[in-house]
Symmetry: C2
Subunit: 454 residues, 2 copies
């Protein structure tokens, strides 16, 4: 189901994905300039090849949130694989004097040959969880900082909002329809993240094309206004799209529109959409009216600036599906995740087998962090519910060996952690189900698991 | 200055822009599915060719904001020009049964042939300002809704935040460095919008490559931690990049780092960057120390979760430049603009020369809007300061004829409104300078101009 038959098979080669319109041939310039100037200076100093471990983590969750959601991992793998400097890019860097010739030469041969481990996509995380670890030479790892953070910070923010909305919606399907509220390509990634977080479908055709997410559509007020009457508009839509279509009933008078809709489509009308007004009140009224008209199977879809709280407030209303836009794609108040990419360990010296040394920023100001490459495990209580996130940097205690969270994603430069989007979605569902019940509360609170440092 | 010598000349043909890595060959799938199903139904009903006027506007500014900033217009023109359905896309739509064969055939020949007028890029706007008007057949206009809104909602949100930050920063330059906090392609558009809003430079290489925005870089804590001492790190950086470089001084102890920095680079050191701690206090201390060391020309760059308020609070501190990330790319609390794309007028009948009729949604719920295609003018008081935004839908009063805000952007499908990015930036500077002084207040307030409807 998740393959788009019309699209080329994704990831079938080391070539840049040409699954237009939402891929880009190279990700190498989605990079802050200082990554390249640091590379130049390290090449000059002879320190560029020092073995290094970088880790991605957050120092905190957005205020009041109970858990974070890892999303974007699959896109990170694409980005790493397609991180190459072609002649045109090198020409730009040369003309702009961004780096020197020696560095340009090094960049021309760049391919990431290191290792990446991390929380699998869809997994939940907490403050300090080592979400991703990138290991290799300093040079090859530092270049990936910006694009990895861009992807994880954006996608995880959307997935976290989606997850809360999915909790609030319960068994009712959520439709992602936020494309018009965010950058056109961020929208495609947002659809993907929302799907992982529990959304069922998207309105965004590019997301269907690129990621095989099921697409849906209803109609807009403009369609009704184009026609001489609402009756004409409904007739046009039902004639062309069938009685299973969704008719928009709030352009003029809702009660009259519902009456007209059932008259034209018959009691087999697929659904009606309400996009304004008091949704709680209207949903009850419209359901009653539909039932009175014998349209017991006609569903009610509501849209109109919904967030997780509005969705929850409609739990007792006869609503069959929620369409969510703005609040989803903007992370419901938290459009980014504050993930950072920090050097946590590096070789003592320049020899390939030099021992690793933990490193960390130490100045005042609250931005210090623990050094050393870290493992993470989630412990369970007697009833199998998650109890704590345990993070450590030495040997893994034997009792935690089968509770480790990180998985191999890239090994020696080869992507080994590719998986279908469906797997991340299912993993997320299972991860949330395994958390204490308070994870489901929408109210503000502390992270639902304590993080223990070993 | 704003052309990237290494990049191909943008917009030199009707071909999709291949200025990698940040263009996409077609924008046609950045579209909500319902645009296509509405098209199908309208083709079926014979109403698809009715002449229509769609307008983009907002019903309100984000709470407390004094003005909005139009940004993204140049990207809209690219998107309209590159909105074509190729075989692969049509194949996808066919396989997924999104629309019928007749509609696919229509889409295969799609090119926008209508007209677009709007506020020029960089101009300010207010609630109800008719920011963009798209005219043509219903069919050709309705398809553009999603991608136009995506671009304007995102880019204008970032530009509005940038503009406030630029007001707060006064003559001090602002560096855009938010790439890691937002989607990797949204980041490129954000750099562009920030530049229009008054930022001077960006850290994002793709933004330099694609839009010719000047790029800059400093260095990260990881570079210091890679080396055996801060002294080694600074030496490596200065040796390779010259004494004009910017050294990051808050990895360990700021005072010691500043001492070491000047010792290594000499008093000609370009700048130091402070990325944590009490920036106000540290800026004063570091300035004093630099001056004591004879490094009077060494600049101080501050970064660390700055927003317009933090920037304003540093106005009296000896700071030379601000680097801004998260709060810029997330619109400083308002990551989207709530612009809508509404059918405001359409032909009475299906004949090409049928008169136009204003249309508008009329149901309860606060989403109704005024029908009719609108003009807009900005009136000035006796001293030449903007006084009101006048919006009307009939004849333009003669006294307003030379104060009209909208310009031609697309005429008969041909883009006529292309301009250098620098023009939008300069226009924005002039537009803000022409507003009443209260526009400059960062505190919450009403829109700085009243909107009068004629």
């Amino acid at each position: 189901m998740l393959e788009s038959p019309g699209a080329p098979p994704p990831h079938d080669s080391r070539q840049a994905d040409t699954g237009l319109p939402v891929s880009v041939p190279s990700t190498a310039l989605f990079t802050d300039q200082y990554e390249l100037t640091m590379l130049q200076a390290a090449l000059h100093a002879g320190t560029a090849e020092r073995r290094s471990s970088f880790e991605v983590f957050t120092r905190r969750l957005p205020e009041g949130r109970r858990y974070g959601v890892v999303a974007g991992t699959g896109r990170v793998l694409d980005a790493v694989e397609n991180f190459r400097f072609d002649e045109q890019m090198l020409g730009f860097l040369r003309e702009q004097h961004v780096v020197d010739e020696r560095t340009l030469e090094w960049l021309a041969g760049y391919r990431f040959r290191g290792d990446i481990r991390g929380y699998p996509e869809g997994e939940v995380y907490f403050p300090g969880s080592p979400v991703l670890r990138v290991e290799g030479t300093f040079a090859e790892c530092v270049l990936l900082e910006t694009v990895i953070l861009s992807i994880l910070n954006h996608d995880s923010a959307v997935a976290a909002a989606a997850s809360r909305m999915a909790v609030a919606a319960g068994d009712r399907p959520l439709i992602e329809m936020g494309a018009r509220r965010t950058h056109e390509l961020a929208a495609v990634a947002a659809s993907r993240a929302a799907y992982i977080g529990g959304f069922a479908t998207t309105s965004d055709l590019a997301a269907g094309f690129r990621y095989g997410i099921p697409t849906v559509g209803t109609s807009a007020h403009s369609f009704t206004l184009l026609h001489d009457s609402e009756r004409d508009a409904f007739t046009a839509q039902v004639d062309s799209l069938g009685s299973g279509t969704t008719l928009l009933v709030d352009t003029y008078d809702v009660a009259e529109a519902v009456r007209t809709a059932v008259e034209i489509a018959g009691p087999g009308l697929g659904a009606v959409r309400i996009d304004s007004g008091d949704l709680l009140l209207l949903a009850h009224r419209v359901r009653q009216q539909l039932d009175d008209l014998g349209a017991h199977g006609t569903k009610i879809v509501v849209t109109s600036d919904l967030d997780e709280y509005a969705i929850a407030s409609l739990a007792a209303a006869p609503v069959d599906a929620y369409g969510v836009g703005t609040q989803l794609v903007t992370g419901s108040g938290h459009p980014t995740c504050s993930m950072v990419y920090k050097l946590v360990a590096r070789a003592e010296a320049d020899e390939p087998d030099a021992p690793m040394r933990p490193v960390a920023k130490r100045s005042m100001g609250g931005k210090s962090s623990a050094g050393g490459a870290k493992w993470a495990a989630r412990t369970l209580d007697a009833s199998g519910v998650a109890e704590a996130e345990v993070v450590g940097s030495g040997e893994v205690p034997s009792e935690l060996a089968d509770r480790l969270l990180q998985v191999e994603l890239v090994k020696g430069g080869e992507v080994v952690g590719r998986e279908p989007l469906e797997a991340a979605r299912e993993r997320h569902r299972a991860a949330v189900a395994g958390l204490p019940m308070s994870a489901m509360q929408l109210s503000r609170g502390e992270p639902v698991l304590p993080v223990e440092h070993r």
